[in-house]
């Protein structure tokens, strides 16, 4: 779709916004500007399903680039939009991010998206003391994947906050937990965190990761 037709759709209101707020036309319009800030190389995208739900769990440090890198990288590689959790519910930042695909970090929000066959991305919680570690997984946000049966993929993200070049490595889906009940989400969190850590250790030299 050309930029002219995208602009015409904005004038006559015929663009689409989904129930969570994603405006795909706006993402396409902003794509050239986002390309100036983030150049993303993606590996392992073949592991992701072409359709149907999936939960992606990625590492995050203390910058703001990782959610944009994950959503942009996967959209470029697979054509699918990723709904990254963590948008604040405060205007104008929250509604603005929701237009680009972000959603609130709520289990019911993640569950609803997975039931609607969407790709959802959840960030690991980074630790300031152990920068070389992937972080800890939020079990409450992973639990909907157990309920819906969606596959869970570890994703390693690396790059410098002041640079343009970022790398995204998508690992194979983690095995479902053997536990049942509340322990299952904890076990799933441990497995996916270990998956992200393995990807980081395999793909990037430790010295480079710490830099």
């Amino acid at each position: 779709m050309t930029e002219q037709s995208l602009l015409r759709r904005r004038m006559d209101g015929s663009y689409t916004v989904d129930e969570w707020g994603l405006d795909t036309d706006l993402v396409q319009l902003l794509s050239p500007a986002l390309a100036l800030r983030w150049q993303v190389v993606v590996e392992g995208e073949d592991a992701l399903p072409e359709s149907g739900p999936a939960l992606l769990v990625f590492n995050r440090r203390f910058g703001w680039s990782e959610p944009f890198v994950v959503s942009r990288g996967i959209r470029q590689a697979t054509g699918r939009y990723v709904r990254v959790t963590g948008a604040p519910d405060v205007a104008p930042v929250g509604p603005g991010l929701r237009r680009l695909g972000a959603v609130l970090a709520r289990p019911d929000e993640v569950g609803g998206l997975l039931r609607s066959d969407q790709l959802v991305a959840v960030a690991l919680r980074a630790s300031p003391r152990h920068r070389q570690l992937a972080g800890t997984a939020p079990p409450a946000l992973l639990a909907p994947a157990l309920v819906t049966g969606a596959p869970v993929f570890p994703v390693a993200v690396t790059g410098r906050e002041i640079g343009r070049r970022w790398r995204l490595v998508i690992g194979p889906p983690v095995e479902p937990p053997t536990s049942r009940g509340p322990l299952a989400a904890e076990e799933l969190g441990d497995r996916v965190r270990a998956g992200v850590q393995t990807l980081l250790d395999d793909a990037f030299p430790p010295s480079r990761f710490r830099s």
Binding site: V17, E19, G21, D89, P95, R98, D108, G112
Partner: protein
């Protein structure tokens, strides 16, 4: 089956009555409302009665002894009456009609019109709640609906009847008395430029079909009925070719006065929709009442703006010539 339809004078009430009339399994239909029906009724018996006239309403319903109730006597603020009267009429109609119907020995199902306003749109609230989310209304209309749902459940327990609470998205259509519909039809529509969050709607025909399906299925519980898709207030105004009035903070007070002067008052739940959006997960409806809305939300908005071409009837002399 003997069906009592409260609120039969509204657009949805009359449509529901017309649909039930076509069903041979329904033996008798009784309608009550403060306003007369919108269209001709073939089989239904209608009583024009003020819900506040408790003695008369109770007598009519006791005499009828319904086996099923479709409770549409729920008055949206600034749709057919002001907010205070709407709240009072909703309360009185629910207490009296459902209370009297619960005394009927053969009552086995109650279907009530609720709305997704019961979920509220507080800070951090889910943007697309399903039926498992506990209602936390944040507008007077939402609180009124939740109170009505609770009273219906109480009546259901007394009568040992299934209570289906259909939580409808804002019902809009060319013939529907709706404060949101009136607002979107203004030449200038106030919008919140810093948020402009999506909302979902429900077409008046889909709403009527949902109530009839709910009556047939007799499901016990709450069900969201929401058209697929969503639009934002700015987008809706653009679809209708309307100008937008960017409104922030205290300027909403000015917008309220402005829209009221133009004949489209802005009640709290509509203001909340414009500022915080309003959607819900309607996927449960297909499993429980076997109903999926036929009109997507953008289609509902387009239908709202499509006015039939005015055709002037020729005078008698001209026709005779």
């Amino acid at each position: 089956m003997r069906v009592l339809v409260t609120g039969m004078g509204g657009e949805i009430g009359t449509r529901v009555a017309n649909l039930i009339e076509a069903d041979d399994r329904v033996d008798d239909i009784l309608g009550v409302d403060i306003d007369p029906p919108r269209r001709r009724l073939r089989r239904a018996e209608f009583h024009r009665v003020d819900p506040r006239d408790r003695r008369k309403l109770v007598r009519i319903i006791r005499d009828f002894q319904p086996t099923a109730v479709v409770h549409l006597g729920v008055y949206e603020p600034n749709a057919r009456c002001g907010p205070a009267l709407a709240r009072e009429l909703t309360h009185q109609c629910t207490v009296t009609a459902l209370g009297a119907a619960a005394e009927s020995p053969d009552l086995d199902r109650i279907v009530v019109r609720s709305g997704i306003e019961v979920y509220g749109r507080g800070r951090g609230a889910p943007t697309r709640p399903d039926e498992s989310i506990a209602p936390e209304p944040t507008s007077p209309y939402g609180r009124s609906l939740l109170e009505m749902e609770n009273m219906a459940r109480e009546a259901g327990v007394v009568a040992n009847a299934a209570v289906t609470a259909l939580r409808c998205a804002p019902i809009v259509g060319p013939h529907m008395a709706s404060p949101l519909g009136r607002l979107l039809r203004l030449p200038v529509v106030p919008v919140a430029p810093l948020s402009d969050l999506p909302f979902s709607l429900l077409h008046e025909r889909d709403a009527a079909a949902a109530f009839v399906n709910g009556l047939e299925c007799g499901f016990d519980g709450a069900v969201n009925v929401v058209a697929p898709g969503a639009v934002t207030p700015m987008q809706a105004a653009r679809i209708g070719g309307r100008a937008v009035l960017p409104t922030v903070g205290p300027s909403w007070l000015f917008a309220r006065v402005f829209t009221e002067l133009l004949g489209a008052p802005l009640p709290a739940h509509v203001r909340e929709l414009l500022m915080r959006g309003r959607t819900a997960d309607g996927s449960f409806a297909e499993k429980t009442i076997g109903m999926a809305p036929q009109h997507a939300t953008p289609e509902v908005v387009k239908d709202l703006y499509e006015w039939a071409t005015v055709t002037y009837l020729r005078g008698a002399e001209e026709a005779a010539a």
